[in-house]
Assembly symmetry: C2
């Protein structure tokens, strides 16, 4: 944990340059636009420690699997988030000497991520070894409006000398992934050209044949006046550059504007890449940097309108929550239904893959409430499109029917290889089913079920049907050999959460079938035929629903995480000597496994998902039993505890849980932010505020609110989108107001009272001071 | 499975050359002397597929661990069985053209492993591309008497031409391990010299600084007359050779005698290696090839006297059992208590490590019965010497006391890295304790307990004490998160076998303490002090013994393999469609885990070890329950089933189980013999015959026999050693005779009747035809 960033409501600001935190900053100050992303690497040469990262969404590499001991069923590859052409690079030379912040004195350094308007800026004065001082001011962004465009303004001013300043903007495709399994490079050169007007470079991946073309062009001005350019052009292996040099007098400002279009074969035909890139680039360059930057601010203003959270009285919390919302919006815009939300977004390459169950469990709620419903819908359609692959995956593991979605994927194929997770953490199937329910419940878009939802639900139900078996011993259905959300237990029998979400899937699938048969009989018939759904299957589902086994502790009245949980020594985390924590750094794996300690909400995850099926007393008993045993060594854990704590009136506990992830990356809480930000868990922090502190739910087509204000805050307000309306919810000391910023009326329920918020109308309610 | 070897009682014979089975033959025809071993690679150049392997016992390489996902507690390295200098190499050239069996026609090829006398021979006629025919006859062995010496006689006769024949005997240290984790070579050159009298090459390992020196010398005769040699000497990187050429007329026989001494820094000081090697080499060379070969035959005659099994009426079985006995005697001679028995002996590099629990569970019984008791004792002392490392290992995994022996080791340190095995297959500790009991029971050497045994027992007992925990739920001690002998279950709770062997260890340790306090009070006091053994510890052990939980099925009257076993679908193996088998090639790992199928005897392993504590009815119920569920996909499984089947009178089942491993490698039953032979499981086959068919046990200081003859055999007889006597046991159609080949009398019990077999005496008993 290291706090070195300045508190500010709208920006992340670093006020001096420290090479030891540079890689952390490279993660935190990353920029992205859902289509591409870029770590906060320096434009100019930097010979210090740095993790270079330029990522194109959906472009990945199937890196040959590396394991110690092969297990049947492992996939052949792990999909790596692919470091692509370095398009930001600009060498800067002063009288032939390269500017390099590892090789000079750095003064007045400020790096700022302007989250309100969506750009990264950096300014500093470099004192070269020979005493020359150069002032640098750089701004860059990847355009939210023109998703293939990145733009950089790089201005230098000699402060105490006159001389020749050289800029070498370049495209460098000779890059590698730090996490390559066999230290290979993943790219081959296809074509390149360094030209006076524009240069380009096309690479393709060694496998899968992804093509990426980067096209660059640039202008240079001196004190605002455009200069004529006669660049020296260089072409090397996977590299093109243009070199321009200018006599520059003291206090003159030389500004380079670098425009780049990055286009991929995901969106353009193989023969059209250079043309498409050139067209996008030309349009952007004609618009000019200032216009592009204004577009960026406007687009972000629109994003913030739907998703902002305003906290009064706590700048640190304000900055933290805005950072999370900003990163989520940078990572996924929902415009491309082939994309998803990788665990590190565009801020690092670690873990690989783009899609985990994090998406359904944590990100879908965020996008449901903060964006047009089409965005969350696209996340659902992503899985619909992978249904055939999920069926293949189930076949590969020996199932005769049904679908098992992968633990980690890029294209629908499983690419993870750790048996206790890949093969056994099958509750992910439940989260994918649940997201369909969640979406339909939130949006009211029942048509989705007939269009896409039911097919996914039915195939998942078939999987559960075959995955359980009937225990003669228990006279019940059981589910053996699974890993629940709590990955500090492996290969257990009858994980309560998995059994429960499986049965819930069956129940919901039957409910959807019933509804469909009533309201869309033609589509129902069509789907039953397409699925080949037989009555004996639905009967079996009903039998499983009626006869599923759940491990219980009747004495305590709690659901047991899995069979045998009570055989463990139950010692609360707080009684552990501090040197044992975190367990994952101090205990051998077997010791963790046989201990009672819980990495991540498991039974409680189920009580959160199925919150309307359990009464408060049940939630309380389970929370009181499991919370003291939970170490929260997954960043996806505290939000669920926080939300439940809010429901139970444990306000201090809720706030404590919220704090554990609110500034996870900004404060480098887990000492690993240099690898990238914990993007998906950011949605969890958002959930803690909106579903926790504000108590937001959707029930019976009403937006339900039951807010309280953490004692450290004065008030908070936020925007949410609900069934076409954008609502501003303000939680003040004494009252709650909901203002409708659209002309679409909305049904809202505050502390149990129903209200209709008319278009552009407002309702107010007294704030309940009650604990529950 | 592929049967291409000729049936013969004393030899393994291959009668034609087939490159597609060459690597299998390289494993099967391996030679070794407990100090070094050599796969049956060809002496002359061979450009076809071949796994080169020259191994020096105890010389290994700590290869950096390779895993997919690191788990806390994993060791940094995996100890690799190290492919060392190729010392057998002899290039043969005919008028400058290299003899290479992949490049010429091969006629009249015969390869023979003479097990009676312990050498490998090969003869063939090579027809070169230009039509020249050359007859080759080669014999080689590694000396059982002079363990650093290997010798080769390589004779060539031109059959249809006269010309220049060139021999290039060489030493080549530029070798690699096929299983290197990062494709590294493991050796560095230290020194070398190619000389007219002798050449040598010293290498050292890149880590751990093992030095190996090979010294070679040679003679050449023509038609039996020694030739004067003026070799052309070559020194290259890690390579020395001597080239000699001779005009050779048609039908003249040119014979090269190559003598090599391989000496290591395990036995000699670093500065003395060349000297020691040269001395050993000179002595061997002066003795001459024929004398060395006679010594070899004599030494093997002695080995066979203690360990032979003679089967009448079944040549295939005869060959199979002799091959197993031969390989075991080649692998471990017991002369060096720092050595052990690797899973592939000296026949391949796969799996790495030299010591698994195979040693205690399967090999100790073999050496107890077939060799002087000092041999098995050395295997025990091996573990005694590793006690400190085993304590360190337990500390590393978080235990405050006690010892956990490694799953796989070379020097006492754990080098395995698969959490469910490395950390959880802790029953190995029980086998190590059991071997002490087994040794003392067989030999009567109670002094061993005070000298070495008790310390090991006490530290293992302490481990169990800390590894169990008290379940409030059950009111019993439980053992959570283990993997039993059946590795088709991982991370289970209360594996019956592990719980049972843990409690047995505590019982036996207390018994030994009691005995020692009575009979060796001074040593007792000394040991209690050395161990710091406290009364509260032994009380705790008694409490655990009294209150251990064992999973049971009271209805069926069987011990349950682990908690929850009865929740599985219990479908006998024979009801599985054949395409599912073997499961490990056809099912994904999770499917195997949640199935009822058993890889290797687990509960039954316990009933075998603790056979005198369970009545036949109990054994029968458990056998009848588990045998149909067992797939025997470990070669260590069938022997235990075979032995129990014999006890239960299931003679056909016993024979069926025996057959599954009797010729495992000779018939390449598992399609993996090219990687090396299944050396440790060979002891299991021996057990099936001696402890199974002959029913040999030691009980109350008597050698117990209860033989039957498999219906496919006419009779069988075998030699066993028991308390100083060598007994020949003949099981004939109507009678059992036991002949004492020494002057030490022995107590024998046949079908429940006690006999005293006087020195050089004989007893006979009628053979029982009863089933039980």
């Amino acid at each position: 944990m290291r706090q070195y960033l300045k508190m500010d409501e709208w920006s992340i600001i670093e006020e001096s340059f420290d090479p030891s935190t540079h890689e952390i900053s490279e993660s935190i100050f990353s920029i992205g636009n859902g289509y591409m992303g870029q770590r906060a690497n320096f434009e100019e040469q930097y010979s210090g420690a740095s993790l270079q990262g330029s990522y194109m969404a959906g472009v990945y590499y199937p890196d040959k699997t590396r394991v110690g001991w092969w297990k049947n069923g492992y996939p052949e590859y792990f999909a790596k988030v692919l470091n692509s052409t370095n398009w930001i690079g600009i060498h800067v030379l002063l009288d032939g000497v390269a500017l390099d912040l590892a090789q000079c004195e750095v003064k007045e350094f400020v790096r700022e991520l302007n989250m309100k308007e969506g750009f990264l800026s950096r300014r500093f004065t470099a004192v070269m070894e020979d005493g020359k001082e150069l002032r640098v001011e750089a701004v860059r962004f990847v355009s939210m409006k023109r998703h293939e465009i990145g733009a950089i303004r790089y201005a230098v001013t000699p402060l105490n000398f006159s001389g020749i300043i050289t800029f070498v903007p370049y495209l460098d495709g000779d890059v590698k992934n730090k996490d390559s399994n066999y230290e290979e490079k993943f790219w081959l050169e296809v074509e390149k050209n360094a030209g006076p007007e524009r240069s380009y470079l096309t690479l393709k991946t060694k496998k899968l044949d992804f093509h990426v073309t980067s096209v660059m062009s640039f202008d240079v001005t001196k004190n605002g006046t455009a200069l004529e350019l006669q660049p020296v052009l260089v072409e090397n292996e996977k590299y093109v550059s243009s070199e321009v040099s200018f006599e520059t007098a003291k206090d003159e400002t030389l500004t380079l504007y670098k425009y780049v279009a990055n286009v991929t074969s995901r969106d353009h035909g193989l023969g059209q890449l250079v043309e498409a890139g050139t067209a996008a680039l030309s349009a952007a360059k004609s618009a000019g940097f200032d216009v592009l930057l204004q577009e960026q601010a406007d687009t972000w203003a629109e994003k913030w309108k739907g998703s902002d959270i305003i906290i009064e009285g706590d700048v640190s919390a304000q900055q933290g929550i805005r950072f999370n919302i900003f990163q989520l919006n940078q990572t996924y815009t929902g415009e491309d239904d082939r994309l998803n939300i990788g665990p590190k977004g565009f801020t690092g390459e670690k873990y690989g893959g783009s899609t985990y169950w994090d998406t359904e469990a944590y990100c879908v709620p965020f996008y449901l409430s903060t964006a047009d419903s089409s965005i969350a819908r696209n996340l659902l359609i992503y899985r619909y499109k992978h249904l055939e692959k999920a069926k293949e995956n189930a076949r590969k593991l020996g199932f005769t029917k049904g679908a098992l979605y992968p633990m980690v994927t890029m294209n629908g194929e499983e690419c993870h290889n750790e048996w206790e997770i890949t093969f056994e953490e099958i509750h992910r199937n439940g989260a994918i089913a649940y997201a369909i329910y969640n979406y339909v419940n939130y949006t009211g878009d029942k048509a989705y079920l007939g269009q896409y939802g039911l097919e996914v639900l039915a195939e998942i139900s078939r999987f559960w049907e075959e995955r359980v078996n009937f225990s003669k011993e228990k006279g019940k259905y059981v589910m053996l050999g699974v890993t629940g959300p709590n990955e500090y237990e492996n290969n257990v029998n009858n994980n309560w959460y998995t059994n429960r979400i499986a049965v819930w899937t069956l129940e919901y699938t039957l409910e959807v079938l019933e509804e469909l048969s009533k309201h869309e009989p033609a589509r129902y018939k069509e789907l039953v035929e397409k699925l080949g759904l037989r009555e004996e299957e639905t009967s079996k589902w009903k039998d499983i629903i009626a006869n599923m086994y759940y491990p219980l502790d009747n004495e305590r009245g709690v659901f047991l995480q899995q069979d045998g949980f009570l055989d463990k020594e139950l010692v609360p985390v707080k009684e552990l000597a501090p040197e044992h924590l975190p367990l994952n750094q101090n205990w051998s794996w077997d010791r963790i496994l046989r201990s009672c300690y819980i990495k991540q909400a498991d039974v409680l995850q189920g009580l959160y998902f199925l919150g309307d099926r359990y009464d408060l007393e049940t939630k309380k008993r389970n929370f009181d039993f499991y919370e003291p045993l939970t170490v929260h060594e997954s960043s996806l854990s505290p939000c669920v505890h926080s939300i439940l704590a809010c429901e139970l009136g444990y306000q201090e506990k809720a706030y404590e849980m919220y704090l554990r992830t609110a500034r996870l990356d900004l404060d480098n809480y887990n000492n690993d932010t240099e690898d990238g930000c914990h993007t998906t868990s950011m949605a969890g922090t958002w959930m803690a505020v909106i579903q926790g502190f504000a108590g937001l739910r959707v029930h019976n087509n009403e937006l339900v609110l039951r807010p309280f204000i953490p004692s450290h805050w004065k008030s908070f307000s936020f925007n949410v989108m609900f069934r076409g309306a954008t609502l501003k919810v303000s939680v003040g000391e004494n009252s709650i107001t909901v203002t409708n910023e659209t002309d679409i009326p909305a049904a809202v329920r505050i502390y149990g009272e129903s209200y209709r918020v008319e278009g552009h109308g407002k309702v107010a309610a007294e704030r309940s001071q009650a604990v529950l």
